[in-house]
Symmetry: C2
Subunit: 296 residues, 2 copies
């Protein structure tokens, strides 16, 4: 469950209410695609914007529609009390693992983050993925904190921020991370644009945004017969990765999901807004360019 391709699904809204029908369809489609796990309520799943009730419902829908594909659900919140509530709800729904980022308002100390993970893991009956995403949480893990948190009971994987694009530097970084972690703790990368490089550098998993909407374009990177083929499969997606960098991956995959008929046109929670017409058009053009490029 903590290796290979984990596809992080959008949580589509319709008029600012959970679009349960669209979500169930998204999850069913992912389960049929052959991904190794489904990430519900990740950053791409807008977990931070949703109420407790909405999150409990999303976790339940994910499990009900994922078949045999294991579901990992995000449980992050600003307040520890609420993290524990989300953990209870997610486990009640039957998720196979939870994902926790140290979401911050007041900048947190390493000690505060360690105690958060200690408190949460003490009460879990499923494994936990440590989620390090400084861009959204405002918190940056040190290597010492990785090592300390990874020793807590049930910690199964660490989802690290994008690694350097240079293969040699990425390899050195993964090697350094390995020395911090017990062998059973996997290293997963976010940052779709560096997934191929990161897997080649030794990462065990790719916690993927694009796989949540376009699993058939992400799987060739993970299942490639050689690093050269994986790189070609990744290079093919470059037009989208450039738009991810310009607009945020969430807003871009929301356009794609709408274009594919998977969601309505305003599926993100305000204040997040759909891309403007020019950016929307650029996303569709990128998709057309990818379609016109032969697969690796």
């Amino acid at each position: 469950m903590f290796t290979g391709l984990s596809a992080f699904a959008l949580t589509p809204l319709d008029d600012d209410r959970l679009d349960e029908h669209a979500y169930a369809k998204l999850i069913t489609r992912l389960a049929g695609s052959g991904v190794d796990s489904i990430g519900a309520l990740g950053s791409t799943g807008s977990y931070a914007y949703l109420t407790r009730g909405e999150r409990a419902r999303v976790a339940a829908l994910a499990v009900q529609n994922a078949g045999d594909t294991p579901v990992i659900a995000g449980i992050g919140a600003l307040r520890t009390r609420h993290v524990l509530e989300h953990a209870d709800d997610a486990q009640q729904a039957g998720v196979r693992a939870v994902l926790l980022a140290p979401v911050s308002y007041q900048p947190l100390s390493d000690d505060e983050v360690y105690h958060l993970f200690e408190r949460v893991t003490a009460g879990l009956s499923v494994p936990l993925v440590v989620y390090d995403n400084p861009r959204t949480t405002g918190f940056t893990f040190t290597d010492d904190l990785y090592a300390a948190v990874a020793k807590l009971p049930g910690v199964a994987s660490i989802k690290v921020p994008p690694l350097p694009a240079d293969p040699a530097i990425a390899h050195d970084r993964v090697t350094a991370l390995r020395t911090l972690l017990a062998p059973e703790v996997t290293i997963g990368v976010s940052g779709d644009q560096v997934a191929a490089v990161s897997l080649r550098a030794g990462c065990d998993a790719w916690y993927s945004v694009i796989a949540g909407t376009l699993p058939d374009l992400a799987l060739p990177i993970v299942r490639a017969s050689s690093p050269v083929v994986a790189k070609a499969a990744s290079d093919r997606l470059r037009p989208l990765f450039e738009l991810f960098a310009a607009h945020g991956s969430l807003r871009v995959v929301a356009v794609i999901a709408e274009h594919l008929g998977l969601t309505g046109p305003a599926c993100l929670p305000p204040p997040l807004r759909p891309l403007d017409a020019a950016a929307h058009h650029a996303v569709l053009q990128a998709l057309a360019t990818i379609d016109a490029t032969p697969p690796a």
Copy 2:
């Protein structure tokens, strides 16, 4: 209401539940201190960590215990829907103004933040203070965005991040800000350590952390007979300001409130933690140093 000293109160918890008795006492004490307004549910009031029910209750308690002192209540949240709910609740409670920061998880665009403020101000019957705090929100206003948001109906004041400590540079910055804003929109500063400089530089208000717990030490800075006296009143507090920089002002004022018997020992919402013994001791030593320093 949008000039002079605004005292931002802690929202004390007890065993992770709202300590209503302590909060009512804090507000009564502030109202009796002579501050110009009371800030409820600011960053110092842990608004971002509290539930809708807790926030509605805090707003009501603030209004009920503030007497004639106007209450400004924070309404920020990650999702626009929740901001609007907090605005309704705060107005129902009788607050005289609201304070809104563009709290972020996904980094927000200027356009998204503008539309957030447009949406919220359209439904308000009380004035709004624009709250710019990049350290907690992850969002940085441009001057163009200040100018655009300040034109929205009911925008009464902008709470800006700490100005430069150099008086001439601070003065230039306030002068530049003035050119962006209608004359009736006041400029208030956060960053207690630069309050004296900022008021001298032309700021109209000080949105103050320390005044929420030690109003008698903050008022002399605002009411000083001359800039020299204000600077001396500010310099006297330097031992505390250094601890604010080291540990975050919220954790420091929590120690002071406990020391004064205003709150219990663990009044912050986890994952925030009380300062450790050494830092706690340093806060008490700073208070003793200030006590031993003659007032300006």
